[in-house]
Subunit: 401 residues, 2 copies
């Protein structure tokens, strides 16, 4: 259901919704016993939730489509992932949890090496260390001055950096200056309609950068890609009428939550600390996005057993969640990350929604195959999760008389 | 998922996909034992594929819609059948495997009988024999001359023929000349915007035809219907990045495959010969469309037992398919043709997709009712089959980062 339709039906009550996202939770069966990670895990508490809840599998983007973290999360937050696409520069900003403001222009950057004629000899400046990167970014940030514009030069990792331009009347419709080719020169900044001012600023930025870095071989120039404006999207707490908080240890997910207007809660690096943050902030919000990263990381590593252990660890913390007496619990992932594939995949993602009024189905267990016959079906579009949760929280008015 | 979206995610690998289409495979239970044709068939190999694969039923066009062969196949090839509609003239050309070129205008024709005042006395010219039809078509093809245009006059069957106009600047937006009424005169050619040139050509064609056939009573005139241009559609091998071959014994299916750019492989009339063609061409293609006609023909005849036997024959050839070591196998039909109804029907069509990474569901058997609880769901839109198969073949990039 589209956000505009839903937002007209919002009703305010004091119910609370928890969305527990185990990143990349969906899996594939291992050879030894034909069980997926979820099926192999000992998880009595999640199974009990499934037993008392309504289950299914959701499709983050569409059939056959493997989602990145951006679309994967936007889908379960109710945003149509084909309509709301994040520019590469913006995504890089989210990845380091940079607080983009409306009108900001972000671009991904590479430190590179150029010769005396300006020709690129190494597009990654010999993959300089992150420490070296930080040193140069600091230097550029201190020295570059462009009238009327604030320039942020932020380290990402190794040779990668983020540039953010903050000012008025800036546009993100610029082409890359990175020719993606050794021996070529960096491309002149160019852009589409209305981009003249931004093009001049980027030219100025690159000229100053070249001067400042002239003695910093191998990182003596910067190539820019994926210019994009901070998207002007609907705000999650406004659309759904939910005072919303994100509990996430990793910057990308904090960035995504911030992009759609959730509050970010300070938390630790462990799952236990994340649950503690939930408890401590329980009275202050209507909606909690609780993000567990390690299911995905171990999936990407092909580490079946460790992914299972993370699921079991989360399961062990479910009683603490239940003691908070939430009205609606959503347990799912943003996509599948089968250990067998060591990567994100297109497979539908196990989903359970629990509430007092969910109309429990016959699914007794939280697993890929058990969920197929659940009441939410084997292919629920991800954007339908929030409306269902909202209904279960009795936060949606009747449509029509 | 729409073709444009998918085509942006295409990745090239050396995996192979086989789409085995048993035309009209879906059925209805017979009275004696309440089994459908698929359920009654002894088919251990297809059941094994279902057991190790992911199953469901697909909807070729939509709920309640009985598809013709055109939309039935276009759907499973990933084309939105409401957007990509084939004109009647074009369909007639496909039906005799006429090689339409871009810009060609095709129309269906009937030989008819007119009296001396030009009034139609028999719209089908006494259903002349196909041999007679061939004789007259040859005569017309040899004698009709229109400057700047090549005219093809092709026999279809009995009183039915195909006219194709090949030239530049032709349009298909002409109304029928067939008044569909005895005692009326053939209608004057007329058309929409930009059709002036084509209208003059058709007038010229009909004038010459009338002169040439004046002594050929009862087939002394031609009525034209369903003018249409060769559609300018996306090319299947380009959209999906698959070198694609069609193995089909019947002209209509060869025509459909050719229309979307598949290569046509020479094959025989038997199913065994079709499998042989598959084996012989295995190394040269990424995608094979293997079409079995007889399931539909026997369904149309109301011959339950023979439809069962065709399924059993296909089943017996599955081990030869498996020995080729395909990466992805799709087994389905283009629509249902229940013997009980002796016609195409609206019922969803059994579907199985097998691959190493398909995430097998709990379906143990390939049948209408067994597939309902499969992971692909009971109502998968047909256009989603190809994206899922492409994902299983690891031929789709991640969407978003």
């Amino acid at each position: 259901m589209d956000l505009e339709f839903i937002s007209k039906l919002i009703k305010h009550t004091d119910t609370k919704i928890v969305m527990l996202v185990m990143d990349g939770i969906g899996g594939l069966p291992r050879e030894t016993d034909n069980k997926t990670e979820l099926e192999a895990a000992y998880k009595p508490n999640l199974d009990k939730l499934a037993n008392n809840g309504i289950c299914g599998l959701h499709l983050p983007v569409g059939h056959g489509i493997t989602p990145g973290s951006g679309p994967g999360h936007l889908g379960i937050f109710g945003f149509d992932t084909k309509k709301y696409q994040i520019g590469r520069g913006t995504l890089e900003a989210l990845g380091i949890d940079f607080d983009l403001k409306p009108g900001d222009i972000a671009a991904r950057g590479n430190f590179c090496t150029i010769d005396k004629d300006g020709k690129i000899t190494d597009r990654r400046a010999g993959r300089i260390s992150t420490e070296k990167n930080q040193e140069i970014c600091k230097l550029l940030g201190e020295r570059i001055r462009i009238p009327g514009v604030k320039v942020f030069v932020e380290t990402v990792k190794e040779h990668r950096l983020l540039i953010v331009l903050r000012g008025t009347g800036l546009k993100g419709n610029l082409i890359d200056t990175d020719p993606q080719e050794i021996g070529a020169k960096s491309l002149e900044p160019k852009g589409g309609p209305g981009s003249e001012k931004t093009v001049e600023i980027v030219k100025n930025f690159l000229k100053q950068t070249k001067d400042i870095l002239s003695n910093h071989h191998p990182a003596n120039m910067v190539l820019l890609r994926g210019f994009s404006e901070k998207p002007n999207w609907p705000i999650f707490p406004e659309v759904f009428g939910l005072k919303s908080a994100a509990i996430a240890a990793y910057p990308m997910y904090r960035g995504l939550a911030r992009l759609i207007g959730m509050d970010l809660l300070e938390t630790g690096q462990t799952i236990e600390e994340e649950f503690k943050t939930l408890e401590e902030n329980w009275d202050n919000y209507d909606f909690f996005f609780l993000h567990i990263k390690k299911t995905d990381s171990y999936g990407e590593d092909g580490n079946f057993d460790s992914k299972v252990k993370v699921i079991e660890q989360v399961d062990g913390l479910i009683p603490r969640l239940m003691r908070l007496n939430p009205d609606v619990i959503i347990v799912t992932g943003d996509h599948s990350t089968p250990s067998v594939l060591k990567s994100h995949s297109w497979h539908p993602v196990p989903l359970l929604i629990w509430s007092k009024y969910c109309r429990a189905d016959n699914v007794k267990e939280f697993g890929e195959r058990a969920c197929i016959t659940g009441g939410l079906g084997p292919n629920l579009p991800a954007i339908e999760i929030l409306p269902i949760a909202m209904a279960n929280a009795q936060r949606l008015e009747k449509f029509g008389a």
